[in-house]
Every structure is written in C-alpha cells, then in structure tokens.
C-alpha cells in the first residue's frame, strides 16, 4: 500500500505539490493524471526519497523509502527523466543496480529478455532509441520483482505496438496483486489503461475515482435530430436547456435529459430521427476539472504571424 500523507513540496516560492493526500491500492492500475507541471513527477520523486518533502510524507506499507531494507525489491520505478549514464551498457547499468540490492545477476538477464532488449544489452545506452530507453527503464523497474511499481509517463516515446504492450503489462502486474501507479498527462491513455484515476492540477488534489465515476459526475449532453430543428431548439431554450448547433445538422442539447427532450418533442408534434444521450468523455471531465489548474495555457490555437 502506497500512501501519500498531506504531502507538500515548495521550491522557493513555487508550490509544486500542495497538501496531496491519497492512497494507491494494490491489485488495480491507478492512473495519476494532471497537466504538465502539475506535480506528478515531484510526487514520484518524493515517494522514492529523491526530493525531500516540505511537509507530509509518502509511505510504503507504513515506512518511508529510506527505511526500506532492499528498496529495489519493494519499489520499482520508471522515471520520466532519463536516469542512465549514456556511456554505460544496459547490462552494466542493471548489474550495478542488482549488486547494490543483492539481486542475483541472473535476474538481469531475465528482465533484459522480458523487455526485449537482450540483443542490444551490451551496447552503450547512448545508441538507444527512445523506445529502447523506455524498455530499459521498465527492465530496471522490474529488476527487484517489487510489489509496488511507479511509472512516470511510460508511454512517451513508445510506438503503438509498445503502447498496447505496456497497457496489457500494467493489467498483468495489477492482476498479480501488485500496486501499479502510472502518471500521464494524456487522459485518453488513462481512460484505456487505468482502473482508478487520481486527478491533480497545480499540485492540488482534484478528484479520484474510476473512469465511470469521474464521467458520471459531469452532466452529459443529448444529441438530437428532428423534423423541425429550429422549433425544437426554441422549446429546449424555453425549458432552460442549452443548444449548440453541430455541423451535421444535429443539435447538442445540454441541461435536459433525453427523456425530457423526447417528451417535449412529442408534445410539440416534432418527429425525432435521433435522440442519443452523450456521456461526458474523460477528456471533457479532465478539461473541466483542470481548467483553472493548467500552468501554461495557450490563448488560442492560431499561430501568431510576423508583421
């Protein structure tokens, strides 16, 4: 069990993590979702004892990281920033890690095989592609066969096949009863790979729940196509609903349920061709939740032109 207890981290005046408090349970994949700069990596570094928290603490089965007897056998981590000397081979990198935690060197070959980089294991890491580096990071995380695994932005640099592989891999690890904690700024990725999601923004806790729970909290819209769109729109507005025209001649109705829209149309003698309740996507929920919390928001998508 991984517990984050009232964790706060300040770098000078900047508050990177602000009183985070949550638990990550074993047996499921827990997503750690937030915009870039929201404090995900800082939280991960504090869990590993790399950064010192200003307040609060992160514990692994009740102990802080420095108290673990063989840290690599209890917690495995793939850090976003590269953490390998480019001049060293993957095999030597892993052998050194193994030696420090009294892990047999046969385990190094196992994880190299498992991650598919055994054939390049004696080459200098500097020659590796981004995807190979990620695989080495995963091999390093698995080295001590730990019960708790942290992955900071693991899909960065992976090709579609690798992304599919890593999703299945997370599920397998969770099914084995391990704690799997995966950070990402990509909500679509989290929707596919995580069972539980913790959303943070600007270092603060925003929401926690399954994808279904998070999306259920946000009212969806209703997609309507009918014989008389203009009259239907007027009726919806008269009942305090909102209407957005869509490109495909359909209306997107907010504030009313599909039942209410259907009854209103029936009462007015309008024929409905389509009436579809639209669930809020995790993406919309995420944008709604973190709208105030994006550190570097862009004003528009228009590229500024020179004079």
């Amino acid at each position: 069990m991984l517990k984050i207890e009232h964790l706060t981290k300040r770098y000078g005046d900047v508050v990177a993590v602000d009183d985070l408090d949550f638990e990550v349970t074993p047996g499921v994949v827990t997503g750690f979702l937030g915009p870039n700069g929201s404090g995900k990596s800082t939280t991960m570094r504090i869990i590993l004892g790399l950064d010192r928290p200003t307040k609060g603490r992160a514990t692994i089965d009740g102990r802080v990281y420095a108290e673990l007897r063989h840290p690599l056998r209890e917690v495995g981590a793939l850090l976003e920033a590269k953490a390998v000397h480019p001049g060293r081979s993957a095999r030597n990198h892993l052998l050194a890690m193994a030696a420090s935690n009294n892990i047999p060197s046969s385990r190094v070959d196992e994880v190299l095989e498992f991650t598919g980089i055994a054939s390049v294991a004696t080459k200098r890491v500097a020659t590796y592609s981004l995807g190979m580096n990620q695989r080495l990071g995963i091999a390093a995380a698995l080295l001590g066969d730990p019960q708790i695994l942290l992955f900071d932005e693991p899909v960065n640099g992976l090709d579609p096949e690798g992304i599919k592989w890593i999703r299945d891999f997370f599920r397998t690890l969770a099914k084995e009863g391990r704690t799997v904690f995966v950070s990402s700024h990509l909500m679509s990725e989290m929707a596919l790979s995580a069972d539980q999601i913790i959303v943070i923004g600007r270092g603060r806790f925003i929401a926690q729940g399954s994808v279904d729970e998070l999306t259920a909290d946000v009212a969806g819209s209703v997609l309507v196509r009918s014989s008389d769109q203009e009259r239907l729109a007027a009726i919806v507005r008269s009942r305090q609903g909102t209407v957005h025209d869509r490109d495909d001649r359909a209306l997107s109705v907010g504030g009313l349920t599909s039942d209410e829209v259907g009854e209103a149309a029936f009462a007015a003698g309008i024929t409905l061709y389509e009436l579809t309740p639209q669930r809020a996507s995790l993406e919309e929920v995420f944008m709604g939740l973190t709208a105030d919390a994006v550190q570097y928001a862009s004003a528009s998508t228009e590229v500024p032109r020179g004079a």
């Binding site: 063989h70 590269k82 953490a83």
Partner: protein, 261 residues
Amino acid sequence: MARDVTLASASRAEWIKFRSVRSTVLGFITTILLTLGISALITSVIRGHWTTMDPLSRLTFDPVSTSLGGTLFAQFAVGVIGALFITSEYSSGSIRTTLAAVPQRLRVVAAKALVLTVSMFIVAEVLSFVTFLMGQAIFAGVVPTASLATGAVLRSVILAGVYLTLLTLLGFALGLILRQSAACITVFTSLLLVVPIIVFLLPQSWQDAFSKYEPSALGRAMMSTTPPSQMFTAGTATVILVIYVAVAAIVGSILFLRRDA
C-alpha cells in the same frame, strides 16, 4: 534472509559503474601516459645537459623528485577521474537510479570514495615505482641515482602515489559540492595552477608564508627526499593535504545529504 544494502553491496555497485564507462579508462590511460611520458622527457633532458649544468644545481639535484616530475602533470587527469565519478551522475540523471537503489546517501559517498581510493591507490603506486625506476635507469651512468633501499627515497616514491590518490579524492569532493563537470574541472585546475600564480604576485614575505600551502607545493614536498626549508616536511605536507580533502569531502557530503537529487 538476504543481507541488507551494506557498504559492501553499495561498493560492488559503484565498482561496476566505475569500470563500465570509457571516461574512467581514458582517465587512467591519460594518467599513466602523462606520468611516464613527462618523467621520461624530464630525466632524458637532464641526462643530456648534466655535464653543462652549473655546479650549484648539480649539488642540490634530487634524483627522486625529478624522476617523479610527471606526477605533477598527471594530477589534472586524476582530479578529472574523481570529479566525473559523481558529476556524470548528475549530467546523465543516473544519480536518481543510484539513490533509489541506495537511499542512504552517506553510504553512496563512502562506496564511491572507497572505489576511487582503492583503484587509484593501486594504479598510482605501481605507476610511481615504475616511473622512479625508469628515471633512475635513464640517469644511470651519467647522473647520480637514488636507490629504494634508502628509507627517504622509498617514502618519496610511496607518497607520490598517495598524492595522486588524494587529488583524485579532492576532485571527487569538489564534484559533490559543484555537481557540474565543467565547473568542477575549472575550480580544480584553478586551485592547482591559478592560485600559485596569484601567490607569486604577492610580496615575498607573503609568498614564503602562503606558497607552501598550495596543493602542488605540498605534492612537491611529499615527493622530495629533503624538502627545501621554505616547504613543509613530507609528513606535514601529507597531513595538510589530507585535511584539505577531508574538509572538502565533509562539505560535499553535507550538501549531498541536504539537496534534492
């Protein structure tokens, strides 16, 4: 139950890391080539000019420290070896892997220092003896030579290796403090080369008071059988250099403990 993460396991890990990068191998090759090459050059030149040298120079000639002259050039290479052992961890980000594997930071410092000390001491001692013997062989027949059978000579040759080992550790300690390779090598080189120039510009009485404290002056004192009167004795020089290294290492360790990785 398996053993804990001990100093021994941390040192094994650091040894694998130390020997598995090119910079270490290149650093040692540079150290060996500089020491042997410069020493061979110096001793050969002296042999060639011996008969035309003035009598006073011949009278005060020290065949021991002269034959070990290359050591004072190799000191830059060994400083870089020591500095890179920690600064490359910061530049590559591998310090995070290191500290995740061994969260007891003082144990990491101790393991690295141990690996550096043992490997450099062995290489530097062998190198000092080889360099000394090579120099005496070049001098033989023309220039007076020294023998390892003399206690003071043996001490000088051993201390030449100790000097290189201590400078490796000084580079390492500076690396702990500064964390950046370029900054570290600049400061290290300045300590050895620029400080003596500044001291040289001071009034004579100040020069006499300060110059003997310069690391390279301490090195010369350690390597000579009979240090000149304005220098420390070999023993005192060794102690002072050890104090320099210890102070730098303590400051570096405190910073290493406190800072975020």
